[in-house]
């Protein structure tokens, strides 16, 4: 895989100089987004301003159709706004072309999906290994990091299982390990617990909280799961494509993450 040197950054985070603590992970400014189907123009985001700090677990919450996924996609650099500015990890992403955006995601952003989105033909180990392959991490380093990541999500014994041989909760753990393994500066999760029962959901929430703390990563989750809101450092409520004033989450300091791993 060839990369333009212009956007080439140290592939994975740990040795890389993090954007300074003072600098926010994401700055969204005056962002508009609407979907066109035929002549019909459906505005989904109508002027969103948002600052997401690094080292925080932030939750975008709101009713179905309010635009959470749309906003998350913009932050994750897999979609572009119609209007407005987006600065992700200090980078004006509006100026990047498709390849540069791809490389930026590869090097700095991890995703967790509602439907897990594991590659069915790869084992748990290989699924976690894949982002490191994309980033060109050498074999030994890869091995070490994949094992550590699977260890951290409690799946050291299921390395060779294919997704079809894992439970929903286990699949989401693999997906979380896959997002964390490259030590990105920003991780995005769209309704990561929506396809899990409450018990598994709770475990996943706790796991994400723990890992977020361990890795000091900016973690943005869209959800209407109240458990998640309870664990969040910040909650950003969205209604009809607009952000309401942030909800204070006074409980967050008091809630200790259940130790899972």
């Amino acid at each position: 895989m060839t990369r333009t040197n212009e956007t080439r950054q140290p592939p994975v985070g740990q040795a890389e100089p993090r954007p300074g603590m003072s600098r926010p992970a994401v700055v969204v400014h005056g962002v508009h987004k609407s979907y066109r189907s035929g002549t019909l123009d459906t505005p989904v985001l109508r002027g969103v301003d948002l600052v997401i700090e690094t080292d925080q677990l932030s939750v975008l919450s709101g009713p179905s159709g309010s635009g959470k996924t749309t906003l998350l996609n913009l932050i994750g650099c897999i979609d572009r706004p119609d209007r407005g500015d987006l600065t992700v990890l200090g980078r004006q992403v509006g100026a990047l072309n498709d390849n540069q955006l791809s490389d930026f995601r590869r090097d700095h952003i991890g995703f967790v999906f509602q439907n897990f989105n594991l590659l069915p033909v790869l084992t748990a180990y290989e699924n976690v290994e894949y982002p490191l392959l994309l980033a060109g991490v050498p074999t030994d380093e890869r091995k070490r990091r994949v094992k550590a990541a699977l260890d951290q999500v409690g799946l050291a014994a299921q390395l060779r299982h294919y997704p079809s041989q894992l439970s929903g909760g286990q699949r989401q753990r693999v997906a979380i390990a896959r997002a964390f393994v490259k030590a990105p500066a920003l991780i995005l999760a769209d309704e990561p617990t929506a396809n899990l029962d409450s018990e598994n959901g709770a475990a996943i929430v706790a796991l994400m909280r723990t890992l977020q703390r361990q890795h000091n990563v900016a973690f943005v989750i869209s959800s209407h799961d109240p458990q998640l809101k309870a664990h969040a450092d910040r909650v950003y409520p969205i209604r009809d494509g607009r952000l309401l004033p942030p909800e204070a989450t006074p409980v967050r300091a008091e809630i200790a993450a259940p130790s899972l791993v």
């Binding site: 895989m1 996609n73 994750g76 897999i78 979609d79 498709d98 390849n99 791809s102 490389d103 930026f104 995601r105 590869r106 090097d107 952003i109 995703f111 999906f113 439907n115 989105n117 590659l119 069915p120 033909v121 790869l122 180990y125 290989e126 290994e129 894949y130 982002p131 392959l133 994309l134 980033a135 074999t139 890869r142 091995k143 994949v146 390395l159 896959r178």
Partner: protein
């Protein structure tokens, strides 16, 4: 043991939907087999034709300029007088020595053969041969056909003897004497009891020239009179024994063929003048050397200032290239049909694959795979299917070919009356295998190109929303 390489993912994806992959593979396999078996059969037919031609007329012939176009009817005007010098020059050439197997003179003439006492005669195409050389030429079998060399009917080392095509033998009513097959019974030999088939003056000539009258020889061999126009225009007659009748495989040739020793032919055409020939026939060890040998011969002819030209068997026997062309166009048609089926089959499979894996495309893109990476994934899958199909097809085609070649089938080619072995030639040149594999692989690649391109263009967000 854990590590993935870049082919692992496409390979596993190909194996994921085994049934669909198998159906696509079968299209490719059957297509490849069809191309190779038909191509191999066409090769064998053309090789067989070449073998037959080269055995009879050699690879190259040295002739007087324009003999081939203008002079075949008048060997007296287009003879090569110093043919012995030409043959000596060819045989002495160090470069030609290793490539040329036989160099032999040939005198072609038009004549009339008949038993004028019995009132039968017909025109013949006479060939003055060196029988031993002709027999060596019949051994040529570069393509290793499972056949034994057949000697010509003209005996070696005898001067007063001829052999006939079986058609000539029939019309001269020599069926019983020469044991010719397919002779209608009850046909009377002489429908002109008066022996009026021959003008009296020529009959008189016969009696003057003939060494012995037309009585059955002591060994029971029939005799014939052979008449030809001499170089100075007067007819010349020789009385000769008939050794045998043979089939040359083509009825038109069998109906006019007469072989005789070179000396007899020379005596018929040139009488007591300097004996000449119409062609010097060269047979090469390998057809591949033909251009080298031709160039060298042309050089030698130029250096000596001879008024000669070199013609190859393809010019001398135009049906060879026509047959090749016919098979090439049939092969092209089959390739077109198979190519179309392969194109649509692979394209359909790859489009379905892209559809089914749209979410996966979105996932890979969100992980940072570039568009080109996505395209490469699907292109690789198409190429893997193409490679598997063509390689398996090749393997099976080779097995089929071995089975056909050892089954001992025979067939009768068009324009021929002789059965020849039915075989498939796939390996004489790599062209067929390499060409058909390359063509189908290229088609598999082309048909994966569009689906792969479309996969790469799907916006990430839409790919992820796909259900």
């Amino acid at each position: 043991m854990f590590s993935l390489n870049s082919l692992a993912l496409p390979l596993r994806n190909v194996m994921r939907n085994r049934r669909r992959t198998l159906v696509t593979l079968i299209t490719l396999i059957v297509g490849e087999i069809a191309l190779l078996i038909f191509g191999g059969y066409a090769n064998a037919v053309v090789d067989g034709m070449q073998t037959g031609i080269v055995q009879q007329i050699g690879h190259l012939q040295i002739q007087r300029k324009n003999y081939f176009l203008l002079g075949t009817g008048s060997p007296m005007d287009y003879g090569i007088a110093d043919y012995r010098k030409v043959i000596a020059a060819v045989e002495a050439d160090p470069q030609l020595k290793n490539m040329v197997k036989v160099t032999t003179p040939l005198l072609q003439l038009q004549g009339i053969a008949g038993d004028f006492n019995r009132g039968v005669s017909r025109t013949v195409a006479g060939y003055g041969y060196v029988a031993a050389d002709q027999n060596r030429m019949r051994e040529w079998n570069e393509y290793r056909f499972p056949i034994e060399p057949k000697k010509i009917a003209l005996p070696e080392g005898q001067s007063d003897v001829v052999s006939l095509g079986i058609g000539v033998a029939r019309t001269l009513r020599l069926c019983d004497a020469l044991t010719v097959p397919n002779c209608p019974k009850g046909e009377v030999a002489d429908k002109n009891p008066g022996g009026k088939a021959m003008p009296d003056d020529i009959g008189a000539l016969t009696e003057l020239e003939a060494a012995s009258p037309n009585l059955p020889a002591s060994d029971g061999q029939p005799r014939l009179d052979v008449l030809a126009a001499t170089a100075n225009g007067a007819p010349n007659v020789i009385n000769a024994r008939v050794a045998a009748a043979e089939s040359l495989g083509v009825k038109e040739i069998d109906d006019s063929y007469m072989a005789m020793p070179l000396e007899m032919a020379q005596q018929l055409v040139y009488g007591r003048d300097t004996p000449q020939v119409t062609s010097i026939v060269l047979q090469l060890r390998s057809t591949a050397d033909i251009d080298t040998v031709r160039a060298r011969l042309t050089r030698i002819i130029q250096d000596h200032g001879w008024d000669l030209e070199v013609l190859d068997y393809r010019t001398l026997f135009p049906a060879y290239d026509q047959t090749r062309g016919l098979f090439a166009s049939i092969f092209g048609f089959i390739l077109l049909l198979i190519g179309t089926i392969v194109l649509f089959s692979v394209a359909n499979t790859m489009s379905t694959v892209v559809m089914e894996r749209t979410v996966e495309i979105g996932t890979l893109r969100s992980m940072g795979m570039r568009r080109a990476g996505i395209a490469r994934q699907f292109l690789s899958e198409g190429l893997i299917i193409g490679t598997l199909g063509t390689v398996l097809g090749c393997g099976l085609a080779v097995l089929c070919a071995l089975a056909i070649n050892s089954a001992g089938f025979t067939w009768t080619p068009p324009n021929s009356i002789e059965k020849i072995p039915l075989v498939v030639h796939m390996f004489n040149t790599p062209d067929l295998i390499v060409g058909s594999v390359a063509a189908l692989l290229l088609l598999a690649a082309i048909s994966s190109l569009l689906p792969a391109y479309r996969a790469a263009r799907i916006p990430v967000v839409e790919a992820l929303r796909h259900v």
